[in-house]
Amino acid sequence: MTAVDDRPTTSPEIGSARRRKEDQRLITGRTKWTDNIQLPGMLHLAMVRSPFAHAKIASIDTAEASAAPNVVRVFTGHDIADIQGVNITAWPISPDQKTPDHLPVPLERVSHTGEIVAVVVARSAAAARDAAELVDVDYEELPAILDLKEAANDAVLAHPDLGTNKSAFWQLDSAAQGSGGDVGEAIEKARQDGIVIEREYRQQRLIPAFMEPRSTVVDPTGEQVVMYSATQVPHILRFCIAATTGLPESKIRVIAPDVGGGFGGKLQSTPEEFATLAVARKLGKPCKYTETRSESMISAHHGRDQWQKLTLTAEKDGTVTGLKVDLMADLGAYAAIVGGGVPVLGAWMFNAIYKFPAYQFNCTTYYTNKTWVDAYRGAGRPEATFAIERLMDELAAEVGVDPLEIREKNWIKHDEFPFTSVAGMTYDSGNYEAATARAKELFGYDELRAEQKQRRESGDPVQLGIGVSTFTEMCGLAPSRVLGSLDYGAGGWESASIRMLATGTVEVITGASAHGQGHETAWSQIVADRLGVPFENVEVLHGDTQIAPKGMDTYGSRSLVVGGEALVRAADKVIEKAKKFAAHSLEASVDDIEFSAGQFTVRGTDKGVGISDLALAAFAAHDYPEDVEPSLDADATFDPVNFSFPHGTHLCAMEVDTETGATKMRKYVCVDDIGNIINPLIVEGQVHGGLVQGIAQALWEGAEYDEQGTLVSGSFVDYTLPTAADTISFVTDHTTSPATSNSLGTKGVGEAGTIASTPAVVNAIVDAVRDRGIDDIEMPCTPERVWKAIQSAGGRQGAGVTPTQQPHFDEGTPNQDPSAGTTDGAVQ
């Protein structure tokens, strides 16, 4: 028996607020980031990027740049055309989707500002940067389409060859798929004797703004080409390289060293990675490219960017009867790797926690001459949650009841789980009543409502608003069969391996490539409990396709609910294997072996052996059962059968200074139900960070272009990211309805805060000024927008608001009947 095995029985690791074992190196920066990597003879790249949103590349003169000091060579797209590959989309949302070729370095035409037209290779990054300014590109400017709604008219084309800006259309109809009634009928009926709420909301364009800019190092000098990259998705990246560059997959090793955040922004195969690979292969030398923040903001993919036309119908008492969603989504210049699939992910979430009998979701994707758009924390679900949670407040106002009351009237009750939604998703567990009751209590809901009333009555220049968001989301991407049915290009399984080392430590290999989430800590906790080994003895390896050969990487709040379950299954296989070794060692029958807290014992005796002793025995292999291989190591691949459905109630109080339009958060309470919690400290971090990111969409962030297609908010001076100084201390708590789709009972938490918080904030701001006839303020709710809404409303109910604040649908759109009057509450 080793000391390790004799350790006293300790409290379980799962549920313990362990400090993250990776933080020492991540916080001090004393670790391997891609940009730290120095290889012998390594060359440095600088990109020459288009200043135009849309232009023909007439000619590129590289002579002066090539002759500059320390420059090795300047490449144009033509120089690497044979091996540069293509940046592919993995999710064509319809069979007839129009998809322009996305060459990493285009040969003929640039389609957005910031696109790469030439690559300068030099002996230092400074020399490359200097020479990049000497590359003389002759552009013939083409008309650029920059506005999403104008894109739909096809008057100016983002890609003239496609003949249209429309990429694809995707629909989910509850009547057609048999999961609910006909939404057209619901609308028609509501126009006669019910309530019709019609709104149009804008999801502004956002920039993921991960902390570490993207960086790639390619070493082509061995038998395998090694790419180090600051990516969320080393496995997917390897697939993309193999699929399009002619390099066999077996000759490519992708390593994601420590990666400084992604938020979906590093879920991509990027032109920069592909250009660096091509240039390194051409030169046969290691090459490094690290982007500047300015480059990151114009060339790394953006998020959101939708117009949402929404029609919600209800009976007069507020019982919802139908929901119709019509989305326009801006893909930017290209269909990115998930691309059109991001808005489509909202299809199952607009109906949220409410029992809509009829539902229809329509999504049309368009190209514009702006930076491409793809996943950003929440990806499809924040947009849906925003829309429905805003609409439920509008319905409450129309009926004249408290927003929580209207939600309770319509939500799924706790005893109705599992519940199959009108969109066809089966929610496994939840308790909206419990989360809401707890949130109200922590918030002091009634007191704040009383204060709101008092401020209103006294004409206080600072008004108070209360915003509600009773969200759910679907995460844990994803059941492979579901992905297959949606024509997604890959599966959603995850892989784990456990290696029982001879000296008592345990290597855990996960295919979920962490980039700041804390996998190393949480995975160690799970394995420590499962195998009965000390937390400190577990080492988690990830992010290298040679070490972790199988994986689907990290995004969509999937790592724990999919990758964690794979880990559990691998651990259980280790135990099963070890039982045979234990039985052999203890001279007992396998059937009599019991396992608990790292000890194998013979039932009814005090004879036992520790798992680490068995690992050593398997390593030595001097004496082991005849019918087994000498190893305790095990692999598992888990393919989930369902998504994970976290939910929660978020309550936000905002003060609105009616003199300036300034908004100030007064209180934020969230009670999330994410099932069982592995590490409460990591959860707390995910929730707080997620909240800030969602709040930032509501209040601060927005990518804005000028009429030439230049990103005006192209630095952190104008793209106003919040810091800790701009936020308050959030009150967080949990209710626990364990998930039934994984044995740990966990649900994803990486995106919950972001998904839930945006509508809570906007609802609070609107609530503060609703008595002045304001029912919407476009995001980000800048002080100027709030003040102008107040000014134009003039304190009169429903009067004077601008068309974008309170839109009514165009004649001829499917759900608009101009003769139906104003039961919808909209100003005609």
């Binding site: 300036t660 209040l699 908010s713």
Partner: protein
Amino acid sequence: MIPATFDYAAPTSVEEALSVLAEAGDDAKVLAGGQSLLPILRMRLNAPEKVVDLGRVEALRGVRDGGDHIAIGSMTPYSEVVGNALVQEHAGLLAKAVETVADPQIRHRGTVGGALVHADPAGDVGAPVLALDATMVVVGPGGERTVGAGEFFHDLFETAVADGELLTEIRIPKHTGWGSAYEKFVRVSHQWSIVAVAATVKAEGGTITEARVGLTNMGSTPLRATAVEQALVGKGTADLADACAAAAEGTNPPSDLNGDADYRRHLATVLTRRAVQHALGG
């Protein structure tokens, strides 16, 4: 973010700095705290041949009592100004304004003199210096001269400091016993002022006897709201609104993502009233 190549000089005295500047001609840039210049160089918005770093000129750093005024060396970092007892006592407005600049890291590096010569109208040093009737000491090849704050700011990023000259000192007449407030309006805390108002008042029995009001980011330079200053005399906390209504008169504020000119004019009136109110202790 790599700047273009430049020559670098780090003089240790004002005299040496002046001679380096004279030698380099108009291709030189003076580096103070670097909080504006370095981003400009790194983004390659400017590529001077020579950068003259004043960081080692000890004589330009610190705050001293000049009798009827306090004198602040141009290379004194924001963080020192904020915490300085002389500034707090005799030019409280400046301390309050400088305390709002960006974030602690930037306040540790950035200097009041650097900010004044950079003359970004959204910067937070110009308006209080203007309101406090400061005198700027400028030295050049021809010797030392003084420039009143009212004549110092010429235009966007342009001041009375010519090529080859240095701002060495800011002399602020003592406003001992004056109340002060800096009302800065931003969306996020580290942002440049969307609009800010610097107000300092002398009051007796709650009634204003003298008032000084400076405006940040309401035009191409920091501005002084003299009409408001005059209107405030004789007023108390209860009747400030009318006197402050003219705060935006004659201003020409910018329009950008944070707000258009009309919104800024409106903000200026509200913020002026609030600043004066706070300066009065309200």
